[in-house]
């Protein structure tokens, strides 16, 4: 991955065009709804305006190259964890949060370096990347021992472990995907399809939603929204089949659709479980119309590692 490679990559160029077209069409549709049909689209408009910033930002990070993309994903994961820490109160414990940030930095480092004795092909040290939770959990357990503390420590270390495993490491699989031979295809498909899945769930839910899906976790989510999103997600891999290296047959495309369609909704619900239990509405207020960063990347966290292993199962991720 590099600016030069991005320009030369047909996949990257196609996605840039698709993204521009989707944003333009969505903007036009909102303008028509507001201007001609006099519908109140103020809240969706705010959400849309944030997309106008986020989508080009993500594209620019991938364009800038592997190192920039790894930093971008680690920063996102770190900011996501920060929101989680602020929402749970863990942020008051600087030792624990510091250990998690260190873990997230290690996610970035293992995604960036090569295997020290060249036992793995290409860039990235997959062996250590996959084993990172072991070391970070060990580090987190070390903290109360070093500080000679017990009170409230089980809560804090549990929160820190969830924080690292979920927001740092699982989300961090996006950072490691930058090492794939087909990095542009996988990453752009993953980001695009997951966000489309979110938008589809929202839209279908708004239009046809009748039956609550998981009423206690997220009262606004409906079976209709989930089904609509799944249908869209199952269709997308076929429409975007150029993203997958040949030979990507029906089985692979179906699995990719399922991972995004099912995983995306589960990711959304997973964050909702956390928010409900904490009694907060959004995890933050950084993104107007979306809430916090976690409210935006929630689906990606769940989908990223599943997709990562699916891609590795289809064919070796990295070439020599």
């Amino acid at each position: 991955m590099s600016p030069h490679a991005a320009i030369g990559s047909e996949i990257f160029r196609t996605y840039a065009l698709i993204l521009a077209a989707v944003l333009a069409v969505a903007g036009l549709a909102l303008a028509v709804l507001r201007g001609i049909f006099r519908r109140d689209v103020a809240s969706v408009w705010t959400t849309y305006r944030s997309w106008l910033v986020m989508a080009p930002l993500a594209l620019a990070a991938l364009f800038a190259g592997r190192a920039a993309a790894i930093v971008f994903f680690c920063l996102l994961g770190g900011l996501g964890f920060k929101e989680f820490a602020r929402a749970t109160g863990l942020y008051r414990d600087w030792w624990m949060t510091g250990a998690v940030y260190l873990g997230i930095a290690a996610v970035g480092a293992t995604s960036f370096v090569r295997h020290p004795s060249g036992l793995e092909p290409g860039t990235g040290w997959l062996g250590l990347f996959v084993a990172l939770p072991v070391y970070v959990v060990a580090l987190i357990f070390l903290i109360p021992i070093v500080r000679n503390r017990t009170e409230g420590q089980l809560q804090n270390l549990s929160l820190a472990i969830v924080g690292f495993a979920y927001f740092g490491w699982m989300f961090g699989h996006l950072a490691f995907l930058t090492n794939a031979t087909n990095a542009y295809g996988y990453l752009l498909f993953l980001l695009f399809a997951t966000e489309i899945n979110d938008v589809a769930a929202f839209t279908f839910g708004r239009l046809f939603g009748r039956h609550p899906f998981r009423s206690r976790i997220s009262p606004k989510k409906t079976w209709e929204g989930a089904a609509g999103a799944l249908a869209v997600s199952l269709a997308l891999p076929w429409l975007l089949r150029f993203s997958f290296p040949p030979p990507a047959g029906a089985r692979e495309l179906l699995l990719a659709g399922l991972v995004v369609g099912v995983g995306g909704q589960l990711g959304d619900l997973a964050i909702s479980v956390i928010k409900r239990d904490l009694g907060v509405k959004d995890m933050g207020a950084v993104l107007p119309g979306h809430g916090g960063i976690l409210d935006r990347i929630d689906s990606l966290i769940y989908v990223a590692p599943l997709f990562f292993h699916l891609a590795g199962f289809l064919q070796p991720l990295r070439g020599p």
């Binding site: 602020r86 109160g89 942020y91 600087w94 907060v280 207020a285």
Partner: protein, 236 residues
Amino acid sequence: MTWTYQPAADLDQPMIERLRRFPREPDMTVYALRSLAALVLRGWLRLYHRLEIAGRERLPDGGSFVLVANHASHLDALCLLAALPLRALHRAFPAAAEDYFFRSVPRTAFAAIVVNALPFGRKTHIRQSLALCRRLLDNPGNILILFPEGTRTATGAVGPFKPGIGLLLAGTDIPALPCRLSGSFEAWPRGRRLPRPRRVRLQIGEPRRFAAFPAGAASADAVAEALRAAVLALPA
């Protein structure tokens, strides 16, 4: 076993509002930036302004206290902060005019992140601001930095002290350390865009307590006047 979660009180607020509110929630990033800025500013004050600090040994070791200084330039709060040990940095709060420092985004960011300022409503809600200062001092280990003139001097002479400082300290056992800043007016007087390379000197005086004064408005002026005299009595 029940877990008790304590979400940050400013969870639903965007970053700039989080910086405007007080007391601010502790934030690792902000603390890191502040520590870094403090190192840079201390170096700059020492090199560019040849800042000289005398009387550091008078700073109390534990407990809360107030630094009371004359006010001639924007350098003043930075000089007083530079007199404190780095570990006290995040517990030292210079009171800064809300109407000046907490309106625009860049000034708010600077005041909250670098200076750790307490937004003081000198024009609109003085009593609430004083109550805020009082609460701060009730917690041990906090340092409040006050400029009782309420504004930077226009002439270089030390103006009258406002009675607010008296309302805060009269009848309490909180130590107040008079501080004399000299040279800061020449270095960066009002109306100049950038500071000039002039020497700045900070003299810290002996702690004073005003427990003997009856609390309330009656002795506020007397305390303010006593502190002003104490500041002026220090060598310039």
